[in-house]
């Protein structure tokens, strides 16, 4: 497999290139080092809204044309806003990649943010938030973040608070765009069937002339150390109860990150969706006993300290008290050193398989390079398995003892209040009404 080469253009834009000739496709990503963690009160959700505005077109690529030109040639494209970045990609048949290169160079500089388009998009984004609000677990997630982070920008949802979505202005959005969408604040990645020298030349020609800008230091307020367990409850219409434990853990750059990744895998299976978790400790203790209908763990690799979370959907006829007691008992067992070397070895083996699977598509490969370069270095992708391998059985227990402590967590309960008010669980039909 070919190596990644890293280049920094004269204007400061970071470019990572990796040739993969397995299929005639190329994925092109441009990631800006700005995300929801950098948003101030009053402007929560601005990174995501700006991402939407980037699909409104430019003089060179008017919106109507923009929406069609990638798919017309068989490409796929999208964008994502996260805590720590905003990113755009196109994955194209290899002979069409120039279109993607031109598009991203153009919309790095020339999106107009017309007032009428900002207003039309405001209601689209409010609709997106209302769609999220329709899920009871969104309310739990939002309250968990708010409880876990009083000071740091991780306290609000990426979509933003409704109060800000209704009041932010066109100028707020445009200023955000002009401030942070600069080549010296961008990481661009190509992975696929191309020649590196040729690709670099094209990138230089299109992006090298975009002037660097003074990007102010990113707004970020460190979260003070937590001073004891925090508990929240959310009550929403529904019939299912949920429990969540969220432990404060270090950023992805911290040496304990890999120890925690193995710990999470031992407890709840690999984070990759391509491998199941039915042999994991928490599945066996919670789901196989019927206490829970499902259990998941997640630890998002983040720029600043974030959370290792365990989410449980209570089983039929079981209570949140039972689920919480059993989850706590399982975590206490690990803190007491009750894990086996075989479990640690299994976690590492599963990570190796998941890593092999994840390298089969250029889109995912390019994304991971951009993602980790933003957090510290793209080389973390290549050294990931070695770093996991270096984690010992003792490291995993030590990580559990250090982080999985009640005083370091938020406990959240989602209590369902039923669906029967206003006849809510009845279905009405005006025709052949079976229900």
């Amino acid at each position: 497999m070919s190596k990644v080469t890293k280049h920094v253009l004269d204007n400061g834009m970071t470019v990572l290139l990796k040739e993969v000739h397995a299929a005639p496709v190329v994925s092109w990503w441009v990631l800006y080092r700005i995300g929801s963690r950098n948003e101030r009160t009053g402007q929560t959700g601005i990174s995501h809204w700006v991402e939407h505005m980037m699909f409104k077109g430019t003089e060179q690529f008017p919106r109507e044309e923009l929406e069609k030109m990638i798919e017309r040639v068989g490409g796929s494209w999208n964008a994502q806003t996260s805590f720590d970045y905003t990113a755009y990609f196109e994955t194209m048949p290899a002979d069409q990649i120039d279109l993607a290169l031109r598009l991203e160079a153009d919309r790095m500089q020339n999106v107009a943010f017309k007032p009428e388009e900002v207003e039309s998009e405001r209601t689209v984004i409010i609709s997106e938030r209302q769609g999220l609000e329709n899920s009871p677990t969104f309310w739990l997630s939002e309250e968990m973040s708010a409880a876990a982070f009083r000071v740091h920008g991780y306290h609000h949802e990426i979509i933003g608070d409704m109060a800000d979505l209704t009041t932010m202005t066109r100028d707020d959005l445009y200023n955000h765009y002009r401030t942070y969408y600069a080549p010296n604040n961008a990481i661009a990645v190509a992975v696929g069937a191309f020649d590196t020298a040729d690709m670099l030349e094209k990138i230089n020609a299109l992006y090298g002339g975009i002037p660097a800008r003074d990007v102010p230091p990113l707004f970020s307020r460190p979260e003070p150390e937590q001073q004891g367990e925090r508990r929240i409850t959310v009550e929403r219409p529904g019939m299912n109860a949920f429990l969540e434990f969220a432990y404060r853990v270090p950023a992805a750059s911290h040496e304990d990150h890999y120890k925690l990744a193995v710990l999470a895998s031992v407890l709840c299976g690999p984070s990759s969706g391509s491998i199941d978790n039915k042999t994991s400790r928490l599945y066996r203790a919670l789901v196989e006993t019927g206490i829970a209908a499902s259990v998941d763990a997640s630890m998002y690799p983040s720029a600043d300290p974030y959370l290792l979370s365990f989410s449980v959907m209570a089983g039929e006829g079981r209570t949140l008290e039972e689920a919480e007691a059993e989850l706590e008992r399982q975590l206490a067992l690990v803190r007491d050193g009750d894990i086996s070397a075989a479990e640690v070895a299994k976690a590492k083996k599963q990570a190796r398989a998941a890593f092999a699977y994840s390298n089969e598509r250029v889109t995912g490969q390019a994304f991971r390079l951009a993602f980790y370069e933003n957090l510290g270095s793209y080389e973390w992708v290549e050294s990931y398995l070695d770093k996991l391998d270096a984690v010992s059985y003792e490291d995993v227990i030590a990580a559990a003892r250090k982080y999985l402590l009640p005083r370091n967590r938020v406990v959240g309960w989602l209590i369902p209040t039923g669906l029967d008010e206003d006849g809510g669980d009845e279905m009405e039909m005006d025709d052949d009404g079976e229900e």
């Binding site: 397995a22 068989g74 019927g290 299994k346 398989a353």
Partner: protein, 431 residues
């Protein structure tokens, strides 16, 4: 229109796919992809779907398929799960309305293990009572969760209004809160004994493999499988279009957004006009920013985050539908805007640019679809499932290219009659 030459050598075709039919009727297709480290197995059975279950046993087909991974004559639940998870492999079985699908993934050296597990769970499941109880409870929990899900409830209400009560598409294959608690291990064992068998079974294997060895491997584990009870493939009956506007409403307290599903009965995958309808659907609500519907409901009027149309195809009279999530105050307007797009397409021809864009999209996306083992396996499986022939990818550009503007408009007109459709809304109760 021709397939690009740099793709030709690597296309899955009758030249590059190794096909074998075992004496008991199992079709095996293998396609090597040496650039990956993994292997994907994907396949299906002709029977075992919800179409075969009695209405009072609704959910049995799904429960039976899920229960296969819960224990066999030689492996209990944890032994099965460990065999896979210890090497980072995965395998699962699921049932739909028509049949059973199965599939898994492993590092290439573990293909024999994947085939062994596949054969074991398909042939020798034991349906342990405690696991049937767990699965039943998990299904009930999940059904209760879906009761507060506006998208799911709009979709349920839509299907109940579109399909007659005695049609399999009227029901959800997952079952209901009334039927699932009554399903038993014995019912699942009987359902398996009757409906699972080699006749009509297809297995596709794609990845870093020796194609010639795949059929031998499968012959060794499944070659002696017989089931004389296995019934013939049974098509579902066709369904008449709605004769007027049918509305359904599923209120759910506490919601801030309403979702609606509106549609008609669409063509089956094998219908002569399926491709024309697929192109029409793409113009209507798929291509670009969700087609004409997305342009009008989302982009121009800012009423929805999602608003699109889709065509189900499949083996029976699947739906052709429009879905959107909008503020409760905008439901009627969004429905009217969507209907206006359908009417405009039926009244005025699509223009040449639209047609050319969508055709180019359908043929041009082939390299991306075929990039992964999963993508190739899925493509090969559908070639077999719908009798498209193993050279379908060579013919497909010509088939698409031959479709005219008149074909597209005719497809819209045939399925979307004026004022004859179903619309189902789920959202907060309206005062």
């Amino acid at each position: 229109m021709t397939v690009k030459s740099n793709l030709m050598h690597s296309l899955p075709t009758s030249e590059t796919i190794t096909r074998a039919t075992l004496p008991n009727g199992i079709t095996v297709l293998a396609y090597p992809n040496p650039s990956t480290q993994s292997v994907v197995v994907s396949g299906g059975l002709d029977g075992g779907g919800a179409i075969h279950e009695r209405p009072e046993h609704n959910g049995l087909a799904v429960l039976t398929a899920e229960a296969l991974m819960r224990g066999t004559q030689t492996r209990d639940f944890q032994t099965l799960a460990s065999a896979l998870e210890d090497v980072g492999a995965d395998f699962g079985v699921s049932a739909g309305v028509h049949g059973v699908s199965f599939g898994g993934k492993a590092l290439a050296e573990d293909l024999p293990l994947l085939v062994e597990i596949m054969a074991d769970v398909l042939r020798r499941p034991t349906f342990p009572a405690e696991h049937i109880d767990l699965l039943r409870r998990e299904t009930v929990t999940s059904l209760k969760y879906s009761l507060q899900d506006t998208r799911r409830q709009a979709s349920r209400a839509f299907r109940q209004a579109l399909y007659p009560a005695d049609h399999p598409y009227h029901r959800s294959a997952r079952g209901t809160l009334d039927t699932v608690p009554n399903l038993t291990a014995d019912m699942a064992a009987d359902f398996h004994a009757q409906h699972y068998g080699p006749t009509g079974m297809t297995v596709v294997v794609v990845g870093n493999i020796e194609a010639a060895q795949v059929a031998e491997l499968i012959q060794a584990k499944l070659g002696d499988w017989e089931n004389p009870r296995q019934p013939q493939w049974e098509p579902v009956s066709m369904v008449a279009q709605p004769d007027g506007v049918r509305q359904a409403y599923a209120p759910i307290p506490g919601k801030t957004q309403s979702d609606f599903v509106m549609g008609v009965v669409g063509p089956a995958r094998k219908a002569a006009d399926f491709q024309a309808a697929r192109i029409a659907n793409s113009v209507l609500g798929e291509f670009g920013m969700m087609g004409r519907i997305g342009e009008n409901v989302r982009v121009k009027n800012g009423m929805a985050y999602y608003a699109y149309s889709s065509l189900e195809g499949g083996h029976g009279p699947g739906a052709w539908l429009v879905s959107a999530g909008v503020n409760p105050a905008n439901v009627e307007r969004a429905i009217e805007l969507s209907l206006a797009q359908v009417r405009q397409m039926a009244e005025q021809h699509v223009n040449d640019d639209e047609l050319s864009d969508v055709k180019s999209y359908f043929t041009g996306r082939m390299p991306l679809q075929l990039e992964s083992n999963e993508g190739v396996a899925g493509t090969i499986l559908s070639m077999v499932e719908f009798d498209l022939g193993l050279d379908y990818l060579l013919h497909m550009p010509g088939i698409i290219d031959a479709i005219t503007r008149e074909d597209v408009v005719e497809a819209i007109r045939r399925y979307w009659q004026p004022d004859a459709y179903v619309v189902a809304v789920s959202g907060p109760p309206v005062a």
